[in-house]
Amino acid sequence: MPKFKHRALVSVVATILTVFVAVIVAGCGSSTTSGPIKIGVILPYSGDGQYYSKMIENGVRAKLDEVSNKIQGRDVQLVTADSAGDPAKGAEAAKKLVEVDKVDVVLPDLFSNVSLAIQDYLATTGTPMVLTSQSLPFMKGDLAFAPYGTTGSSSTLMGPYVVDNLGYKTVSEMFDDYAGAEGYMKGFTDTYTAKGGSVVQTQKPPLGTIDYAPYISKIQQADAMAIWFIPPEAPTFFKQYKDYGKTAPVIYVYIGTLVDRDVAQIGDLGGEGTIGQGYYSSAIDTPSNKAFVDMMTTKYGGPPTSYEFGGYVAASIIVQGVTATKGDTEHATLIAALKNVSVDSPTGKISFAGNGLGICNQYILKVAQVNGTYVLQPVETFEQVKNQ
């Protein structure tokens, strides 16, 4: 009897362990000068962010397709991993990409807290990272390349613009109560107050608020409303704002975060004229962007947003970097090359200042109707801004 029980337990445990091992039969040692180049992409493929993940991945694939999935004679493979919007899972995904798939470079997550966790782990492996969107201030410098800088950079230009061009001397602020939104708002607030503007009120509804009525009812008199909400919450805010008869113009400090559907909804809800900053809009009128928009519309059925753009640019940066190293993807070599890249993106040149923070064009964008649809219309261009 005892022997039998042992056998059962042993066989069950052994089976499980064997399956565990068998399951992970991937990525045996790869060289850094031959064999496929592996780009790891960590995104929230499950959970609330999945809508954006697909868009970012499309942007990456669009660029890779342009170069026929080959750089310097080596094939390029995209390895995706799900973070489920959870920092721990994101870090685990990074671990898998590095240890099992042996990727050469990683594109970290969309969500700032997950991205931070990923950067934290990758700092221990020396793997370079190219961000597809903004970052929270870096934890460990050297390895991460953020073309659009930190969250604050996406709204700093709005401050002076509001004072000088729009003449709004006072604003009431409302934004989600978490670090990402705070970062976006701080960029605006710092430059706005430096230029003489005055913030009369700050309200911070928790993330996931479904009814903004209590906050909207408390809005104090000011020239304008400065807001930042995660895109899924923006339409609710606008609807309730209008429902309660509020008329002060709205500044969505980093407006580039919105996708077409959000912009259309906001336009329909009476949000035309809402203005803010962004580093991309499909309505930017340059030949290279027009070509990009046409290509993406043909490929994916709709105009690109800052998410596809982010993926596309990140992939372009990697292509340039690996081209410069003549196909050598050894970490330190690649990082040195990435520091010197200069990419001709759809919106102009993108390169990096010494600390991994990018230099790119930034725009003031306004929700306006163009040919019957609401888009983010650029009303001012800032060339080659050094993002912080």
Binding site: H6, V21, V23, Y45, S46, A88, V100, L136
Partner: protein, 322 residues
């Protein structure tokens, strides 16, 4: 009693040997997964102290898991206390304390009501975790660095695996002893028929309360280990999703067998690994489907099903040799 115990402990020994000998030969990523699975096996087993053994279905068990994790994170990151000899016990104590407080509130009611209350209490802590940003870092959480500082030698993934294995096995053994003791027998009596136990003179509330707190303490150990493993603490670890994950492990693994939740932890981690590669967006759907099937058709879980299969086989072998 003696032969049975000897038998049981030799099974434990065999299991330990396997878990101790194999891992160094595994790739590092797999070691990490195994470490995580063992931690969750402990967490799920602590929940089963309440579910399978006392009939208390708690949907807020992650509260204690998360409290321990946050206590550890805050001690390390904010108070600068690094020694695991202080951080560990403090976190576990904190978890026990919260369980002691919540137990008073939750045990005012029973049955499904109890489930609802524990859910709400867990979410209360979650909302505190999200809102009290100055202390908990809000949704961004706290990064306090991986691995405990034991004061001798550097930690690395392999050493941490053994540390986790050691601590978890110790706890599982303690839980096993508790559940096999007269106290364990009485809580199972309460599960089966509360009224009768009361009429027999047992202080039902005291029993429930004690096991509730003990379960919270062991969940705290798991929470502390989990934080050491990931280095990150976010409010999600306090909330309903983590609690239901543990519940799923218990049910799918089997709540009527001691090692059921352990098996459940392994099964779910395995399926999750596969799903996240091939269909990350559909993972919750798959998990839900497995769960529903399990509740409808395999109520005793995989462990229970395996045991009854084994019984039947032994039974037929016995009759064949007649």
């Amino acid at each position: 009693m003696k032969p049975r115990l000897g038998q049981t402990y030799s099974r434990w020994a065999v299991g330990m040997v396997l878990f101790a000998a194999v891992p160094p030969f595994l790739p590092s990523y797999l070691q990490g997964l195994l470490t995580k699975t063992i931690i969750f096996a402990l967490f799920a087993t602590s929940l089963n102290m309440l579910m399978g053994n006392t009939g208390l279905f708690s949907l807020g068990h992650a509260a204690y898991f998360g409290v321990a994790g946050y206590t550890a994170s805050i001690l390390i990151e904010v108070a600068g206390v690094h020694s695991a000899w202080v951080v560990g016990p403090a976190s576990i104590l904190a978890a026990g304390l919260v369980a002691a407080i919540f137990g008073v509130v939750a045990l005012r009611v029973s049955g499904i009501y109890f489930l609802a209350i524990t859910l709400a209490l867990g979410q209360l802590l979650y909302s505190i975790g999200v809102r009290w940003r100055s202390v908990t870092g809000g949704t961004d959480g706290i990064f306090a660095g991986r691995y405990p500082d034991l004061g001798f030698g550097a930690m690395n993934p392999v050493r941490f695996y053994y540390f986790t294995l050691f601590v978890s096995t110790l706890c599982l053994l303690l839980i096993y002893i508790i559940l096999r003791s007269p106290f364990g027998l009485s809580v199972r009596g309460i599960r089966d028929n509360e009224e009768r136990m009361r009429s027999l003179g047992y202080n039902v509330w005291n029993h429930k309360y004690l096991i509730f707190v003990l379960a919270g303490v062991f969940a705290g150990v798991a929470g502390w280990l989990s934080r050491d493993y990931t280095g990150i603490m976010v409010p999600g670890y306090l909330g309903v999703m983590t609690s239901t994950t543990a519940m799923l492990m218990v049910i799918i693994g089997g709540e009527n067998v001691f090692w059921g939740p352990i098996l459940g932890a392994f099964l779910i981690t395995l399926v999750e690994y596969y799903a996240s590669i091939y269909t990350p967006a559909r993972w919750p759907l798959i998990l839900g489907a497995i769960f529903v099937i399990s509740v409808l058709y395999l109520r005793d879980g995989v462990a229970g099903g395996a045991q009854s299969l084994a019984q039947r086989w032994r039974g037929s072998r016995a009759s064949a040799s007649d």
